[in-house]
């Protein structure tokens, strides 16, 4: 059966799925405009595009969650109308969602049983163990989903999808929540599936993943198919050009001021206990960020980044006042607003719920981080909404935050747009010290460039900028000096020019200085045990 399908693909006889002029409009916005593309059995087909290019809308139509206004879907040569996700599943289309659709209070087996009513419950646990093991996605059917890591939850979704024996699996940005090790594991599984004849539609805006995995790529821009490419013939640069529609430039980074500079943020012997069961404690961190420079903190997620940000921002206070100095003032035991009053600003990693309140308008979210420091926004205990709206307008325009209406609720923005807003909101205050975690997470190439050059400009204007990021390319692009956080310890600060990717990789594995010799692989392996 699978061989037949593969043979058919070789001869180009019949694609598994053909989208024929699919169109979806939301009011004045045409999210998908006459989309045409084909997926062959057993291929990994990348759907590449920036935020708002129409990827998610297209996929929802294929999965039956949205009805197309025009056009049709041809499945195995037959035009079909997919009215609901259940119908899509019956046809053999499975989907792994970007935001998981699992029931946290239920066990793995119960979650899967809900989606597969026809499977006998008595043998289901065994089936799950067997299938998950054979695809290298080990799962305990009895464990409760709430106790699982993000990577394990994705495994549940994938296994649930596999048990439906789909012929096409749609994956919506599956790696956005995974550690690099988990990404590697996922790719192994996907290649294996593809070799068994299952087609995979892989949605992403990460170019490296397209190059590593895909047989074909369809590139969307502003709701239209602009290009169909063979990734083997392309480079990251050429794909980026198709995706953005113009050359993606690196940012301009004027050299940092040399000579003696004023230290604006100083951490000395900062320690903090672990946050929650899976946290990493910080121990003895020393760091100085001077006026005019960007310092990058690299490291794999889960090495104390959360604790580091909490300590520097004041969300959790340090043991002593001397541990943290902002412009020479001891603030170790003082809270977030006390630090904001000294001219510091903070952008946390999670934009929704931490960086912004989903049910509040953007202008109200402006007030949330400014009410203590900005006399204009909150004078004498009264809010001045008009001024907050001006700020919202200014940030929205400068950082190209795409909003459906004036001053919408934060929850109505897409992830990338909200990220632009929360970073822009803090830069707009012209802070003296800016601490930002994952500044361009989930943001498209063009907007990432805007944010990065704004960070560099802010530093060159005299601020101290501290960037915590897992994206090494980003760190190399903007940081003047780089340190690596590994298992709660911070390496010494290195000038960016003196570091190579390889060297940073070793530092991430906890190998400092001279040891970087033969025991490197073992140490690297040790730090990558994440589930």
């Amino acid at each position: 059966m699978q061989d037949l399908a593969a043979a058919a693909a070789d001869h180009g006889v019949q694609p598994l799925l053909r989208a024929d002029g699919l169109t979806k409009r939301f009011g004045a916005l045409t999210a998908c405009d006459h989309i045409r593309f084909e997926i062959q059995p057993g291929e990994v087909h990348a759907l590449l595009g920036e935020n708002g290019a129409g990827k998610s809308t297209l996929v929802k139509m294929l999965y039956g969650a949205l009805e197309p206004d025009e056009g049709q879907i041809v499945w195995n040569g037959q035009p079909v109308r997919i009215g609901s996700p259940a119908e899509a599943r019956r046809l053999g289309i499975g989907m792994v969602f970007q935001h998981f659709s699992l029931f946290e209070a239920l066990s793995v087996a119960e979650n899967i049983a809900l989606a597969l009513p026809h499977l006998p419950r008595r043998t289901l646990a065994d089936t799950i163990s067997r299938v998950s093991k054979s695809y290298g996605l080990p799962l305990d059917p009895r464990s409760t989903v709430a106790d699982l890591s993000v990577g394990e939850r994705q495994r549940v979704e994938i296994v649930r999808c596999l048990l439906q024996e789909p012929r096409l699996i749609i994956m919506d940005e599956p790696t956005s929540v995974l550690t690099p090790q988990e990404v590697d594991l996922l790719f192994v599984t996907l290649r294996r599936l593809s070799s068994e004849g299952v087609a995979i539609l892989y949605i992403t805006h990460r170019l490296s993943e397209v190059l590593a995995l895909a047989n074909h790529a369809t590139i969307l821009r502003r709701g239209k198919v602009v290009e169909t490419a063979d990734p083997a013939q392309e480079t990251a640069g050429s794909l980026a050009r198709m995706m953005v529609g113009s050359e993606v430039l690196g940012i301009e980074r004027p050299p940092a001021v040399t000579g003696t500079r004023k230290p604006r943020l100083v951490l000395s012997n900062l320690s903090l206990s672990a946050e929650g069961q899976f946290g990493t404690p910080l121990s003895g961190i020393d760091l100085t960020v001077n006026a005019g420079e960007v310092v990058g903190i690299a490291g794999v997620a889960g090495n104390g980044q959360q604790e580091f940000f909490d300590a520097v921002s004041g969300e959790r206070t340090a043991a002593t006042d001397q541990a943290i100095l902002i412009d020479g003032v001891q603030v170790g035991r003082r809270g977030v607003n006390a630090r904001r009053k000294l001219g510091a600003a903070f952008v946390p990693e999670e934009r929704m719920g931490h960086g912004a309140v989903s049910n509040f308008r953007l202008s109200e979210n402006v007030i949330l981080t400014r009410h203590a420091t900005d006399n204009e926004v909150a004078r004498g205990g009264f809010l001045h909404r008009r001024i907050a709206r001006d700020v919202e307008e200014r940030v929205g325009e400068r950082y190209d935050v795409r909003r459906s209406t004036a001053d919408p609720k934060a929850g109505s923005l897409s992830g990338g747009n909200l990220q632009k807003f929360v970073v822009g909101r803090e830069i707009d205050r012209s802070p003296g010290v800016l601490v930002v975690s994952q500044p361009t997470w989930g943001v498209d190439a063009g907007a990432a460039r805007t944010i990065r050059s704004a960070l560099v400009d802010l530093a060159r204007g005299g601020a101290a900028v501290l960037v915590i990021s897992q994206d090494l390319d980003e760190i190399f692009e903007i940081a003047d000096r780089i340190a690596v956080l590994s298992e709660g310890r911070l390496s010494t600060l290195y000038p960016a020019e003196s570091l190579t990717m390889e060297r940073i990789g070793l530092l991430m594995g906890g190998i400092h200085g001279e040891q970087a010799g033969e025991d490197a692989p073992a140490a690297l392996k040790d730090s990558s045990h994440a589930s």
Binding site: E67, P85, S101, F103, E104, E110, L114, A115, A146
Partner: protein, 309 residues
């Protein structure tokens, strides 16, 4: 020396005091597990009490009375379900008004039954077994609703953990968006759960006017509906723990009366406050432990579901 007949009498009153709490709380467990917080239990119990009494009075059959009390509670749950499930009205506010409405309506319906003697639920009598001292009356001399409430506890426990229907119910209460995406009928499941909860609360009320005191008086529920709601949290949404909790709360109340009768200086207000204090303590313990809170509380409890598309 222990006076066994007196102890047996105390145990019997504990059973009759606990059964209405158990019945009402079991129904609320099912409703809350599906994600609907119904604070109208007190009102549904009052309607159940008056409809049970009225039907028994009219037909002379306590069985008809029991059925009528369940139907009465269920009918009162209908407007609640329309408002909170279909129209997404705030569940707390709607539940509170349901209680007020139920209390008022029951007083109006029951006006002509005040002072009318009722018929008590017949008690089981197995010759021989029921005559054994102490064990006989406690185990083999209760009325049918007492046995039914215990069987119902086991049945709901089995339904929630072992059956597919129970799995669907828990899924709807945990994440209604995902449940909807899987093609489960969120609104349908919640309707069924709320109606079942209404029937159980009605039965609990019916037990008051047919088993506890075969009489109708205004406000005869006397806050038991609220204890039932508290009991659900106390029991962390598990039927077996509801059984234990109901008997615990029943025992505390009854023993309090006896302690007063024996001249112990416990203020009656303190005794009637005990179930709520116990619930506050349990809430503090549960919410102090994030894992426990997540594992026990239905995540969608109190949140209206608006289907998209």
């Amino acid at each position: 020396m222990v006076d066994w007949p007196v102890v047996a009498a105390i145990v019997l009153t504990i059973v009759t005091a606990s059964t209405p709490l158990l019945l009402a709380a079991l129904g609320e467990v099912v409703a809350e597990r599906s994600g609907v917080l119904n604070l109208g239990v007190e009102g549904m119990m009052a309607i159940g009490a008056v409809s049970g009494f009225a039907a028994t009075h009219a037909t002379g059959s306590t069985f008809a009375g029991v059925i009528a009390s369940a139907i009465g509670g269920m009918i009162l749950a209908v407007p609640f379900a329309v408002l909170v499930i279909n129209l997404s009205v705030n569940q707390v506010a709607t539940g509170l008004s349901l209680t007020l409405f139920g209390l008022g309506a029951s007083a109006m319906i029951g006006d002509k039954y005040v002072g009318v003697p009722g018929i008590k639920l017949p008690q089981l009598h197995i010759p021989g077994l029921s005559d054994i001292p102490f064990i006989g009356p406690v185990l083999f001399g209760q009325d049918g609703l007492v046995y039914f409430s215990v069987v119902l506890t086991i049945a709901i426990g089995w339904f929630l953990t072992r059956s597919r229907g129970g799995l669907v119910l828990r899924a709807v209460g945990d994440n209604h968006d995902s449940a909807h995406n899987l093609g489960l009928s969120v609104l349908g499941v919640r309707w069924a759960a709320v109606l079942f909860g209404g029937a159980c609360a009605g039965l609990g009320g019916g037990y008051l006017s047919l088993g506890y005191t075969p009489l109708w008086t205004e406000n005869m529920t006397a806050g038991r509906g609220w204890i039932a709601v508290a009991l659900v949290v106390f029991a962390s949404w598990r039927p077996a723990r509801v059984l234990v909790g109901a008997y615990l709360f029943g025992a505390v109340t009854i023993l309090g009366f006896h302690a007063q009768g024996m001249g112990l200086a416990i203020p009656s207000q303190f005794i009637s406050a005990l179930p709520y204090l116990a619930t506050v303590v349990v809430l503090v313990i549960i919410s102090g432990n994030k894992a426990m809170l997540r594992a026990n509380t239905p995540a969608c409890l109190g949140k209206p579901f608006v289907p998209t598309r």
